[in-house]
């Protein structure tokens, strides 16, 4: 809630403003286009909590809410540590926000949300949405989503996004008031429709193909990785059995007993170490998943381009046919088949007055058509320009992020190997004392 404890909030540069004034200040600064919100404000999804309540059909349901905390950036640097603003949101509200952004900015690659249901799980990992590990990973994913949006040059200045972060009550109504739902429906229809574009922009066609390939390869990677994780779990855990049998065996030995017993402890430690290893690997899987879903967002942009291109082509075709009709009418030569033309042939020529009226109507239509084509053309060009800028930005982000992900994966593997070497060296020492 923006009002609670707002006296404690340090506003950039000026601490004498009243709460409402400071709020306006922040809001106005936010609206400035091209500003990265994160330069002004710290955002985090700090906690997750279980709630129970009645749902739309008046049934009891349990759901999780996430605490979004925001704090002006300068507050920390000034030494004071004010209580951050915070509010609770559930996953469905995040979904609503994203849908709004998708519809409002169809030319942008909108950051994805973490998965709704756990997929690509290996057997020990729970597929239950209520599982604390899943909730924790989701919390991280939601924070990541907010940070991505807040650092996007265009999305960060969106008002609805800002109020998502700062206005607990009434936000939903505000979103619906924008009327984006209507656009959402037509967008969905468009995305699912099949149509053929005559002159698609090559770059977008390639991007769409890339999106398809990326999605396919990451899915495969996640699937195999999950299976491998399962197996690795088995390998480590079976070693725990050595711990037990060494312990039992040491009981019937004299000199060998101590060495065996302590070696057994190391085998137990080895078996236990796999839980942390695989927990860390889940972070890597989450990073891959983000780009799996990003691929979808990328494809949506390419699809949207196809749609705008298609509509332009339709308008152009329509204009051409109208122009042709006018020409035929003017010269009397019939080149295109039309029912009207046929009937006039069958039932006799029109009167000059009739022809005049028709011509006039066509002229109007042609003028309208020209406007339409101009409009659609501009739309197309505008779309291509904006979308391509964002796609380039996305490409760079993707290359950077995935490279980082691979580096941290390699580091994880190195850490795992070092731990393995240490445990087995410890065990070896015990064995050598047998």
């Amino acid at each position: 809630m923006a009002d609670s404890g707002s006296e404690d909030i340090a506003v950039i540069g000026n601490t004498d403003l009243t709460p409402s004034e400071s709020e306006n200040n922040l809001k106005n600064t936010m609206v400035e286009k091209g500003t990265n919100l994160l330069k002004m404000m710290e955002i985090s999804v700090a906690e997750a909590e279980k709630r129970t309540g009645k749902n739309a059909v008046n049934m009891q349901e349990t759901y999780t809410v996430y605490l979004i905390e925001t704090r002006p950036v300068d507050a920390a640097s000034e030494g004071t540590n004010p209580v951050p603003d915070s509010l609770w949101r559930r996953y469905s509200e995040f979904e609503l926000l994203r849908n709004y952004l998708l519809v409002t900015y169809p030319f942008l690659v909108v950051p994805p949300l973490p998965e709704k249901r756990a997929e690509f799980v290996w057997h020990k990992l729970s597929a239950d949405n209520m599982d604390p590990d899943f909730v924790e990973r989701r919390r991280v994913g939601l924070e990541n989503f907010l940070l991505r949006v807040a650092s996007h040059p265009d999305l960060s200045s969106d008002n609805i996004f800002y109020s998502f972060l700062t206005e607990e009550n009434g936000w939903k109504e505000t979103v619906f008031e924008t009327g984006f739902q209507a656009k959402a429906d037509s967008r969905l229809k468009a995305l699912n429709a099949t149509f053929r574009v005559k002159n698609p922009d090559k770059r977008f066609a390639e991007m769409k193909h890339y999106g398809d390939e990326l999605q396919s390869v990451i899915s495969q990677l996640l699937r195999v990785r999950a299976r491998a994780a399962d197996r690795l779990y088995g390998v480590y855990k079976v070693h725990g059995n050595y711990g037990r049998v060494f312990s039992e065996w040491s009981a019937i030995e004299k000199e060998m007993g101590d060495g065996l017993q302590s070696a057994g402890h190391h085998m137990d430690a080895y078996a236990a170490s796999v839980d942390d290893i695989l927990e860390e690997e889940e972070h890597y899987a989450d990073q891959l998943k983000e780009y799996l879903f990003y691929a979808d967002a990328l494809r949506a942009v390419c699809r949207k381009h196809e749609l705008t291109q298609y509509e332009l082509e339709m308008a152009t075709m329509d204009l051409t046919s109208k122009k042709q009709q006018r020409e035929e009418l003017a010269t009397g030569m019939i080149r295109t088949f039309s029912l009207k033309g046929m009937t006039s042939k069958l039932f006799g020529q029109e009167t000059p007055e009739q022809r005049e009226a028709k011509l006039k109507m066509l002229e109007t239509q042609i003028e309208e058509g020209k406007e339409m084509v101009k409009e659609r053309n501009a739309e197309c060009e505008e779309f291509v320009k904006s979308a391509w800028v964002d796609i380039e930005r996305f490409k760079e982000q993707k290359d950077h992020d995935l490279r980082e992900a691979l580096i941290s994966y390699a580091i994880m593997q190195i850490s795992m190997c070092k731990k393995g070497i240490q445990v087995w060296n410890n065990a070896k020492e015990c064995f050598s004392k047998m």
Binding site: R231, I411, W424
Partner: protein, 425 residues
């Protein structure tokens, strides 16, 4: 019935007692942990040994089979089994192994021998040893029968595993202060052609004094120390079984993990094929996973070839030991039965018949031999398992070291482009 003072034992071979190491001297202080400090180790047959890694040092130890009651200097008999070769004839196909001997013992005509023997010959030797030295623990041979169709008797892995086991068998015999002087052993090592009927003649010469009649006498209470041996063996056997099962399970899980890795790596490769900037990093990861896969394959193969067979050998060893214990029980039973019969029949003044005296001798000899062999066995067992488990640890360490090297070498490759990008931007 306690073991009497050691005398000139009929089963000790032709050496006089002064020249031999006393069997009871087998209980020496433990050998210091097997770590070959000398880097320039050479096998008795002259080939140098690679000691570049700790794991190969312990395998060296395996081959030399240093014994704790005979240090390097007093050893005068060295035996190795190597160079397996396949022989194909119209009748059958089989493998022979070269058996090399180097010795300064006068029981041998020459200081060096090199003969070829097949598994059958080892089996013959073992049977002969069991017959002629029934009071001693004879080391086990690798399993005789292998299911055709399940195991390839001529695969490199199988032959190598068998060779190692046969080598160990001969070394254990060679290290034994009594068995190593056995006539059949001598013939096995030195005869050009092993005429297996020759053994029969030798046996009848020595036979009388050593052939025991084991015929259904009512078993008596075992003396405490032999009862303890039996109890230990009964407790130890299931532990071995459990360890065997665990090892097999681990190998299985590792193999299945390996299968997934072999699918996992190539996915990075196919991903790299449609990336530009990310092409090299992704290829690098693919290569890394591939290296780890190879390392894992080596680990599972090594465990299959080196670890499991040794466990199984000990199971066989224990089986034959239990049999020797039973034989001892029978000898004791025979003696006590005859003694009781004599005591009941006559009055205490008449001397004990020689028949009963002979039985007493037999019991005392058996007990002494067995006790000595048991102590030696315990020491060997300790060394063998120390080596086995240390070897297992080594193999795992090597596996992780290989993987570590692969991933560490990848990091600069992954970070490289970033530095280059930093320079150009």
């Amino acid at each position: 019935m306690s073991a009497g003072a050691p005398r000139s034992l009929a089963s000790s071979g032709q050496k006089s007692i002064q020249d031999m190491c006393h069997p009871l001297s087998a209980q020496e202080s433990a050998l210091s942990p097997g770590r070959a400090a000398d880097k320039d180790l050479i096998l008795p047959n002259g080939t140098p040994v690679d000691t570049s890694s700790p794991a190969s040092s312990s395998s060296l130890l395996n081959r030399l089979h240093l014994d704790d009651d005979l240090d390097g200097e007093t050893r005068d008999l060295f035996v190795t089994v190597d160079d397996p070769k396949k022989h194909v004839s119209t009748m059958e196909t089989y493998i022979t192994y070269r058996v090399c001997t180097k010795t300064s013992r006068t029981e041998f005509d020459l200081p060096e021998y090199s003969v070829r023997r097949r598994y059958q010959d080892f089996d013959w030797l073992r049977n002969k040893l069991e017959e002629s030295q029934p009071t001693h623990l004879i080391p086990p041979l690798p399993e005789k029968f292998v299911m055709k169709g399940v195991v390839d008797r001529f695969s490199e892995e199988f032959v190598e595993t068998r060779r190692k086991a046969l080598d160990k068998f001969l070394k254990r015999v060679a290290d034994h202060p009594v068995l190593s002087f056995n006539e059949h052993f001598n013939a096995f090592l030195s005869a050009k052609d092993l005429n297996k009927r020759q053994g029969l003649a030798l046996l009848t010469k020595m036979g009388e004094s050593v052939k025991f009649v084991t015929g259904g006498y009512k078993p008596r209470a075992r003396p405490a120390e032999f009862a303890a041996m039996g109890d230990y063996l009964d407790l130890f056997t299931p532990k071995l079984g459990t360890i065997d099962r665990i090892a097999q399970r681990i190998i299985k899980e590792q193999s299945e993990f390996l299968m997934e890795l072999r699918e996992y790596g190539p996915v990075y490769s196919s991903w790299s094929s449609f990336e530009e900037d990310l092409h090299d990093p992704l290829e690098g990861v693919s290569g890394c996973v591939s290296n780890c896969s190879s390392a894992l394959e080596e680990l599972t193969e090594d465990m299959s070839e080196d670890f499991l067979p040794v466990l199984r050998e000990y199971v066989l060893y224990i089986e034959s030991m239990k049999n020797v214990l039973k034989k001892r029980d029978q000898v004791q039973a025979e003696y006590e039965t005859k003694l009781e019969a004599v005591v009941f029949r006559e009055d205490k003044k008449t001397p004990v018949p020689t028949d009963v005296e002979k039985c007493q001798d037999r019991v005392e000899c058996f007990n002494a031999d067995l006790k000595a062999d048991w102590d030696r066995w315990e020491n060997n067992k300790r060394q063998d398992f120390r080596q086995l488990l240390t070897g297992m640890a080594d193999k795992n360490i090597q596996y992780y070291e290989k993987c570590l090297a692969a991933w560490e070498s990848l990091i600069p490759l992954l970070q490289d482009k970033q530095e280059a990008e930093g320079e150009t931007s």
